[in-house]
């Protein structure tokens, strides 16, 4: 195979991994609490701005800045659950209500970030060096490799969390059946809070990865979350491996179209293909078929 093609695939996989990182928290929140967190990308954007300010402070070392960013992400997530979602849930809201509240948050967070830091494009200090590795004739950037590495480790941790810990078990139980889970003694409110915290901390990692390949800007996450969401739905929203697969597919697809057809048409082709797949398989590639009882 030609080296350009392999490079395109690797870059596509790295982009797809970023999509997976961005959307994984969203899927986690959706599965546990049935809130489609449209604002997930904007939370990542906000924490990246926080990281930007932390890193600009000379007294704070890099590792502490990253750690503080994760904590900030978790705090923002728990705040959203406490301040908005819990109140509406108590009233028995539908999924549509949640989506619209998240839409409001999406706008507000973008506005707040624009107000505090300004709407211009800022270069973000590099966390990962820009050097490349040569394997045969193929040039692979260290960025792409580290993004893939971070994603792999996080996914492994997430898998172990869901399968081996009590909190993970409780989250799966809440997804399966809320009432039964409550009767079995799952503290739903606490688990919801933990879900939001973990998911938004993951979003802040995603933000740090995204900003490596673009500029820092209040609107930077919108194209990412669009395609990440597309990947998640393509793979099947209710299966974590499916989400991962879907996102990687979207990344690779986009990369191939960008190199061989047209950069301007990346988005158009990606969405056209996803729509076609969804028409054939409405629950995504790995999703479960849904049946309705009358």
């Amino acid at each position: 195979m030609r080296p350009v093609f392999i490079q395109t695939i690797v870059n596509g996989l790295a982009t797809g991994a970023i999509y997976a990182l961005t959307v994984m928290g969203l899927v986690m929140i959706y599965k546990t609490t049935h809130v489609l967190n449209f604002a997930q990308g904007e939370k990542a954007m906000l924490t990246t701005f926080i990281a930007f300010s932390l890193m600009a402070t000379p007294a704070i070392p890099l590792w502490a800045a990253v750690l503080l960013t994760l904590v900030a992400g978790a705090l923002i997530g728990t705040f959203v659950e406490l301040a908005f979602v819990r109140h509406v849930r108590a009233r028995g809201a539908t999924e549509g209500t949640y989506i619209l509240i998240m839409l409001g948050l999406f706008l507000s967070i973008q506005g707040v970030a624009g107000y505090i830091w300004g709407n211009d494009f800022k270069p973000f200090p590099r966390i990962i060096s820009a050097s490349t590795i040569k394997l045969g004739g193929v040039v692979i950037s260290l960025e792409a490799l580290s993004i893939l590495g971070v994603t792999f480790v996080l996914m492994l941790m997430l898998y172990l969390f869901f399968q081996k810990t009590r909190w993970g078990l409780a989250m799966r139980a809440l997804n399966e059946n809320l009432t039964t889970a409550l009767l079995m003694g799952v503290r739903a409110n606490r688990i919801f809070l933990i879900t939001w915290g973990i998911a938004c901390a993951m979003a802040s990692i995603a933000g740090l990865m995204v900003v490596n390949i673009t500029y820092l800007h209040p609107g930077m996450m919108l194209p990412v979350i669009l395609k990440a969401l597309a990947g998640a739905i393509l793979g099947g929203f209710d299966s974590y491996p499916g989400v991962m697969l879907g996102c990687l597919l979207v990344g690779v697809m986009e990369s191939i179209i960008g190199v061989y057809i047209s950069t301007e048409l990346k988005m158009v082709f990606a969405f056209a293909l996803i729509t076609l797949v969804l028409i054939v398989r409405p629950s995504g590639i790995m999703g479960k078929r849904e049946f309705k009882k009358v």
Binding site: L36, F84, H87, V88, E95, G96, T97, I99, L100, I101, L103, G104, L105, F106, L107, S108, I109, Q110, G111, V112, A113, G114, Y115, I116, G118, N119, P218, L222, P223, L226, L229, A230, I233, F237, S262, E264, L265, K266, M267, V268, A270, F271, A272, I274, T275, L278, I279, P282, S283, E290, K292, V294
Partner: protein, 319 residues
């Protein structure tokens, strides 16, 4: 009914608005422009209201249809010398066909996934506009000039206002009749229960696709009406954020009432104009906050405010 007199008052106000601005502020055309903007947005919002409130489908890609209408009219007027009305007709047909096709995908998809398909449509349109830059001007934008109505050139903002008022009033009147017609009841049946509607012999596919086509026509015609008024079309003005604006109007106004939706459009455009000089980001914070507040305190939008208030008053009186 006590309702008829305020409808007449509204009609009088709308008809005399350019005269009022001429008397009160003779040197400014700004208020005619804002009023035209409100009317065009009312049209888009009513279309989206039929889709969201009456059929229960959400579209996050309305700006795509607005762009389609605007560019069709813009290109036909300035490059092919079409009359405004015939250009609008072409735009409406094009939007109806696209909307119908997009709506066909809605049949097999869950609501969350449908949101994605419309989102993808909305996100794709600006890219397509840039890609076909020979026709659309791409990043440089498209100048729209020389609009005529029935052969007569349209020159002033006041003339545009009356044209927009005429077309939008007609469409809004159609919308009210549609919601009371058999088709409108089919829309609501599908919204309330897909399965029950199907068991009554309602064709789900055609109903949803029709609702999409209707909302697309409303958006496209409004876009086409605005094209000669704005005089300049830029591909980036029709991005996802623009689509979100239409959603905000419908949510704040209350999707299940056409009057509410129109109120939402008015609220949005006026607030947008008031905020035009505010620091970066404040507009977004305001509208984001307004959407959250609406969903948490007044889930049925501004349209339900009178009912909620009178209920509260009743409770205070100890009823």
């Amino acid at each position: 009914m006590k309702k008829w007199w305020w409808k007449i008052a509204l009609a009088l106000l709308l008809l005399s608005w350019p005269l009022l601005t001429m008397i009160l502020m003779p040197d400014k055309t700004y208020y005619d422009y804002v009023a035209s903007l409100v009317l065009a947005n009312v049209c888009i919002a009513v279309g989206l209201g039929i889709l969201m409130g009456y059929t229960g489908l959400v579209s996050l890609g309305q700006a795509g249809f607005v762009a389609m209408g605007a560019y069709t009219v813009g290109i036909l007027i300035s490059k092919a010398g079409f009359d405004l009305l015939s250009a609008l007709l072409v735009a409406a047909i094009l939007c109806a066909l696209t909307g119908f096709t997009l709506g066909l995908t809605a049949v097999r998809l869950k609501s969350t996934y449908l949101v994605l398909v419309t989102l993808g449509f909305g996100a794709s349109i600006p890219h397509l506009l840039v890609y076909f830059h020979d026709l659309t001007g791409g990043h440089n934008g498209l100048q729209v000039a020389g609009a005529t109505l029935l052969g007569l050139p349209i020159t002033s903002g006041k003339q545009f206002y009356y044209i927009i008022l005429g077309v939008v009033s007609l469409l809004v009147w159609c919308a009210f009749n549609l919601t009371r017609s058999k088709k409108g009841r089919t829309f609501r049946a599908v919204r309330d229960s897909e399965i029950a509607a199907q068991s009554l012999g309602i064709n789900l596919m055609v109903t949803r696709a029709t609702a999409f086509a209707v909302s697309a026509v409303y958006a496209g015609v409004a876009g086409g009406l605005l094209a000669p008024l704005l005089g300049y079309l830029g591909a980036e003005d029709y991005n996802i954020m623009a689509s979100l604006n239409y959603l905000i109007m419908v949510i704040i106004g209350g999707a299940s009432s056409l009057w509410g939706v129109m109120l939402g459009a008015l609220f949005f455009v006026v607030a947008m104009e008031l905020f035009s000089n505010s620091p970066a980001g404040m507009t977004l914070v305001f509208f984001g906050g307004a959407v959250i507040a609406t969903m948490m305190l007044l889930p049925r939008g501004l349209a339900s405010l009178p009912a909620v208030l009178s209920k509260k008053r009743g409770a205070l009186r100890g009823r």
